[in-house]
Amino acid sequence: MGDRRRSRRLAAGLVATGLAFGTAACGAGSDSAGGDPNTLEVWTRSNPDPAATYERVFAAFTKKTGIRIDYQPVINFDQQLQSRASTKDLPDVMINDTALMGSYQSQGLLKVVDPDSIAGHGQITAQSWSSTVGIDGRHYGIPYSRQAQTLMIRKDWLAKLGLKAPTTWQEMLSVAKAFATRDPDGDGKADTYGMVVPGSAQNGYAAWWGASFLWQGGAKIVEPDGKGTYRAAMDSAAAVDTVTWMKDNLFCGDNAVTQPGALTAVTSTATNFQDGNAGMYLTGPYNIATFDQTLGKDKYEVVPAPAGPAGGDVLADGENIYFGARTGKTKQEQALAAFLVSPEGQKLAMTGENQPVVRIPVNSTLDAATVRDDPRWSVVQKAYEDASQQFPNAPDFAPIKQDTADSLNAIFTYCGSDVRSQLGELNETLDGDLKDQDLLK
């Protein structure tokens, strides 16, 4: 009898230990910053290189305020965020894409932000602040960094072929063809390409890259009607014309206008520009630091994107600072946000050896080109201020971007496809996405 009781007790003990081990394993990592009110858990979507910049910024903040930062650079941000959301324990502060605000807000992941509660809020322009207004008219983020796409182009190749940087779609096409066929690198082989395209539908890249062309062609993906609702606009004549032009000239026309494998490429695999075998790349300015190192500053220049029939607008995006819902450290979070948008915080994030994490400062007292002493950044800042459009920030744009990317990728892949009917189908899908969010007009 005694034996049995002992073994039962032993069993119970083992079970308890096992359970404790199990729970500890589950909780590990998520609660490391939860208990201490003077430590903030901060997430950014960053590779190791930009993460090094963030670490410098946070170190300066800790030195100044005594508030410690538990910093986590997360590459697969949204996947990790979903799993943290399911445990109802979010990071205190997150820095991530502007286009994700609607998505996070619709899931209830964000705290409402009162601009007045952030010290120095007046140094951020009203226009920047308006980009963090959610569907209910309240702010859900603090602007942190902005950028617009510009054209990176091989200066030495242009000079060798006696060409000028293109200013229209037609010129861009002829430059691309010249880069592909006239052997700009002089090695006697046909191994150069006109431009780099991250055209995969994965993560919505085709829509992200293609958006600038849509804006330049006068098309929109969704259109607000001014009463808080939207309607899909991808069946417009402008959209059909633009997508047809892209399909016929960039993907189904002469070979080598775009790099091989463009339709399965994402930004991390589309390295032809930095590898030196493609001549143009319409992309974000965060690449400038990378290209300076890999390609060399003297080899390429940064110019405004070539204009389409409706102008030269490019896609603008950037990062916002978000406060995780129900984290209970509002004062410390506000202090961090105030530091991040202050001239000191922004400058730290714009300079240094590593990739800058603030591209165009949201703090209106700073100028990107002056801070960096690099006139190329004024091209980016000018594009952002004068000729750019963002994805709408209020709706949950993730499904809309993904569906648009799927459709564009399919149209560009099948050269015989009927653009009008394909875009008509896309339009119905987008209306469905809006309807799911009760945002359809």
């Binding site: 034996d3 049995r4 073994s7 039962r8 032993l10 069993a11 119970a12 083992l14 079970v15 096992g18 359970l19 081990f21 199990g22 394993a25 589950c26 697969n76 949204d78 996947q79 979903q82 959301a85 399911s86 109802k88 998505s103 899931q107 209830g108 992941l109 191994d191 995969s200 539908a201 994965q202 993560n203 919505g204 091989p260 494998g261 463009a262 339709l263 399965t264 994402v266 695999t269 819902a325 129900r326 949950d396 993730a398 499904p399 993904q402 799927d406 990728n409 399919a410 892949t413 099948y414």
Partner: protein
């Protein structure tokens, strides 16, 4: 959890004896880990598949909505088709190649051991690394390894991954390359158990190579083939990494499979309920397939 510990006693109606407890004690850590890291998440996944999942706003019960949505979505239907083609092609190809490799490399010679190790390498390399490797081999210009070979033969560069008509087959070829050595090892273990005297008897009867394979080798390695087939079927349906790293489901969704679609649904579109429903359907199909394969295998064994 205590219930698990006392189960044998309860079931047998016997008194709990030291003898019956001890095995469970030893099993307890493993069972606990399985419970916490396997069964609990699995149960949670099934549970979530009935909800519109919004952790911070409260989940909304939607019944079978997620299931009807997933099963009627034409992109999911396409993905199921691709999964079947890829799964069946990859499994059969890998088994066939594994069988051939096993026949070629069976034996004790030292050189064979080295070759076997070399051949087995793909199975122990991370799939993501293999994917990058094949991306380079499939590079669509004459700089790419495969295309430079074709160029040598005077054939034009093939768009292995960018042509929607070829991409799925390119993915399949990589899958076969990864899994054939794995199957080879299992089949080889089966071959080692074949009674040598049967081969000798067959040789005395003057059978052809094909007859020897058909009537001696294959029946003898039947159990090994059964295992290989079951594993391959499960793996074929769950295929994810190979596709994700090689094509990301593109171009134009031509390599989209069940799991990549579920992943997009869950993590790009934030539709965790729908992704859970898709995964549960996959679980059911996998279970069904495993049971069926096992059933036929057992029936075959009895016969």
């Amino acid at each position: 959890m205590t219930a698990t510990v006392t189960t044998p006693a309860a079931r047998g109606g016997r008194v709990l004896t030291k003898k019956s407890v001890v095995p469970w004690l030893f099993l307890a850590p493993g069972l606990l880990l399985a419970l916490v890291f396997k069964f609990w998440p699995m149960a949670k996944g099934v549970w979530l598949s009935f909800f519109d999942v919004r952790p911070f706003l409260g989940d909304k019960w939607t019944g079978l909505d997620n299931y009807t949505r997933v099963l009627t979505d034409h992109r999911f239907q396409d993905a199921i088709g691709h999964t079947l083609v890829l799964g069946i092609g990859q499994s059969l190809g890998a088994i066939l190649l594994g069988f051939v490799l096993a026949l070629l490399l069976e034996g004790q010679a030292r050189s064979l051991k080295i070759v076997r190790t070399a051949v087995f390498l793909p199975a122990v390399t991370a799939t993501a690394v293999v994917g990058e490797l094949w991306r380079l081999m499939y590079y669509p210009t004459s700089d790419g390894l495969l295309n430079s070979g074709l160029h040598f033969l005077g054939l034009g560069p093939v768009q292995f991954l960018d042509n929607p008509g070829i991409a799925l087959w390119s993915t399949m070829a990589m899958g076969i390359w990864i899994w054939a050595p794995y199957n080879m090892v299992i089949i080889m273990a089966g071959l080692a158990g074949v009674d040598r005297s049967l081969y000798e008897a067959a040789a005395m009867d003057g059978v052809s190579l094909w007859q020897r394979l058909r009537y001696v080798t294959l029946p003898a390695i039947r159990p090994a083939l059964g295992i290989v087939l079951t594993l391959a079927a499960i793996r074929g349906l769950r295929v994810f990494t190979e596709v994700y790293v090689l094509t990301g489901g593109g171009p134009a969704g031509s390599t989209e499979v069940w799991m990549t679609r579920a992943y997009t649904l869950g993590f790009t579109r934030n539709d965790i309920g729908g992704a859970s429903a898709a995964s549960v359907v996959l679980l059911c199909v996998t279970l069904l397939l495993t049971v069926t394969v096992n059933h036929f295998r057992k029936r075959g064994d009895v016969r």
